[in-house]
């Protein structure tokens, strides 16, 4: 299987920005490099987890099953999986792009990707911080609204996709 790298131009632009900044503002740029390296290191376990989840999905769910559970006819069950997946998924969004793109190529519908992405706004481990900062009532209400918005966004994307077909 041949590897086709994506984002080489984007990476080149970022590298050029770094070189320019390094010349203009050396200490701050070195700090930025340090911060980026630390982010990368902290994400390594997550990358391993995502590769494992993707492999297990590929192994256990054949394209037909992905279409059944997450495709156009998946219905409420698909939405439920997308919401729960979004809530429990950890780390930055871009780390999940590969897995989502892989599942999309096998039949995952766009509406569920959008629902998954917005449901990620609910961060269970961070709920105590939200309660501490804004109060329990605020945390409950915003969580309910996020859930409604996640489902609505998915539905709207599906309607937009249909109208464009």
């Amino acid at each position: 299987m041949k590897i086709q790298f994506k984002g080489m131009k984007f990476l080149s632009i970022v590298l050029i920005v770094y070189v320019i900044l390094l010349i203009i503002e050396t200490p701050d740029t070195l700090l930025a490099i340090e911060k980026s390296a630390s982010i990368l290191l902290s994400l390594l376990p997550l990358f391993l987890l995502i590769i494992t989840i993707t492999a297990l999905i590929n192994y256990f769910l054949k394209p037909k099953q992905i279409i059944k559970h997450f495709g156009k006819e998946s219905g409420a069950k698909g939405i439920f999986y997308a919401v729960v997946g979004g809530i429990i998924s950890h780390g930055p969004m871009y780390a999940w792009y590969g897995m989502l793109a892989d599942m999309r190529s096998q039949g995952l519908k766009d509406g569920l990707i959008v629902t998954f992405m917005y449901a990620r706004a609910i961060k269970l481990p961070l709920l105590p911080f939200m309660v501490d900062l804004f109060g329990l009532l605020f945390a409950i209400i915003i969580t309910i609204y996020i859930l409604i918005a996640a489902v609505l966004q998915g539905k709207i994307i599906d309607i937009l996709e249909k109208s464009n077909d």
Binding site: M1, I3, Q4, F5, K6, G7, F10, L11, V14, L15, V17, Y18, D28, T29, L31, A32, E34, K35, S36, I39, L43, F47, I50, I51, T52, T54, A55, N58, Y59, P92, Y94, Y97, G98, M99, L100, A101, D102, D110, I113, V114, M117, Y118, R120, A121, L126, M130, L133, F134, G135, L137, F138, I141, I142, Y145, I146, A149, Q153, I156, I157, N164
Partner: protein, 144 residues
């Protein structure tokens, strides 16, 4: 049994190759996040707020969308902004936008999912974030 083991191996290989193929994109995003964290401090962010609830909600959304990092950091920054008297409208928009929007990851998202998908998703997310931030604070005000 042997066939299943080989399939699992193949599944891992496929997952690994797929993941490796998007590493340039992820490295670019991580590189930008590093720059943002250095050049966009909470002190700089605080200077943009304080112009009324609607404007603050919009500013909070934009500030959250351009800032990036662990979700936990958004709460630390929000706490600092709260101490400076920034409204709940702005803070809830900021925290929501931090997690759901991401200016620096837009090129990666567009490259992987397509420009149309990225445009629709981000516009919907932007609208949802502003509406949720505003309506949440209003609802909490009404209920309490």
């Amino acid at each position: 049994m042997k066939e299943e083991t080989l399939s699992l191996k193949k599944a891992f290989k496929k997952a690994f190759i797929n993941f490796i193929s998007i590493t340039p994109m992820m490295l670019a995003v991580i590189g930008l996040v590093g720059i943002m964290q250095v050049y966009l401090s909470p002190e700089i962010l605080a200077t943009f707020f304080g112009y009324g609830s609607m404007t603050d909600t919009l500013v909070g959304t934009v500030a959250g969308a351009v800032s990036m990092g662990q979700g936990m950091i958004s709460y630390v920054v929000a706490e600092g902004l709260m101490e400076q008297g920034i409204s709940h409208y702005a803070l809830s928009a900021f925290i929501l936008a931090w997690v759901t929007l991401g200016v620096v990851q837009l090129p990666s998202e567009a490259s992987i999912f397509g420009v149309r998908f990225t445009f629709y998703r981000n516009v919907l997310t932007l609208i949802s974030t502003i509406v949720i931030a505003y309506v949440t604070v209003l609802t909490v005000g009404l209920l309490s």
